[in-house]
Symmetry: C2
Subunit: 108 residues, 2 copies
Amino acid sequence: MTYDNAFAALADPSRRRIFERLRGGPLPVARIAAGMPISRPAVSQHLQVLKAAGLVSDEAVGTRRLYSIDQRGLDTLRAWLDQFWADALQAFKTEVERPSRTRKGKRT
Amino acid sequence: MTYDNAFAALADPSRRRIFERLRGGPLPVARIAAGMPISRPAVSQHLQVLKAAGLVSDEAVGTRRLYSIDQRGLDTLRAWLDQFWADALQAFKTEVERPSRTRKGKRT
DNA sequence: ACTTACCGTAAGTCATGACTTACGATAATG
DNA sequence: CATTATCGTAAGTCATGACTTACGGTAAGT
């Protein structure tokens, strides 16, 4: 249950952009920072936050450091959402089944 | 594509707690604020943020205001996550299929 | 009509965190 | 061995946003 960090991590636009950039596969830090409007140290700090949230993993390769997406964080988020999704369906179903003569019409 | 707001909204612990509290069905503001360590106006502000993110919807009932979970926000988040999930799988598969004779060994 | 209940908004305070520049550490290169 | 490349960390600045109290506005109750 570390979706606290996961949500907090993905709340920042720069961090989401970094994360999306890793979709194509592992990348070194300088490579990630290349297409971004912020400095390389800033990217490093963001990567640390993403790593702490279990969203990315790093691997030292020579003097470089390859970062890649870690599925564990994604799975955690998905589990949280799915739980909510099921509950929402349940609530909706309950409301629909109720006759509700005096209810105000809810659009779609 | 408003997952910007959705992630930012769920990044706050108080807001997640409010959101989780609505799993059981619609609730008035005072009722939500009852079990929380923050003031009622604070809860109102949080609800506004959640509403702007498409995560909750409100309905005026007399002098009260019932807030309930809006699936649209959840669907948006899920779509974003699923897209990532598919890409991660794709990248993994590609890497495995590559012979990689001159590659430096990647542990598992 | 007056009072009470329930809620949103305004204004102001204060902590968090997203940046920057500067520096040090390690590995490849010649 | 000296140099260069790549990166993480430290320290400091500055904006954002999460709270509070105070207030006004509408609907229900008597």
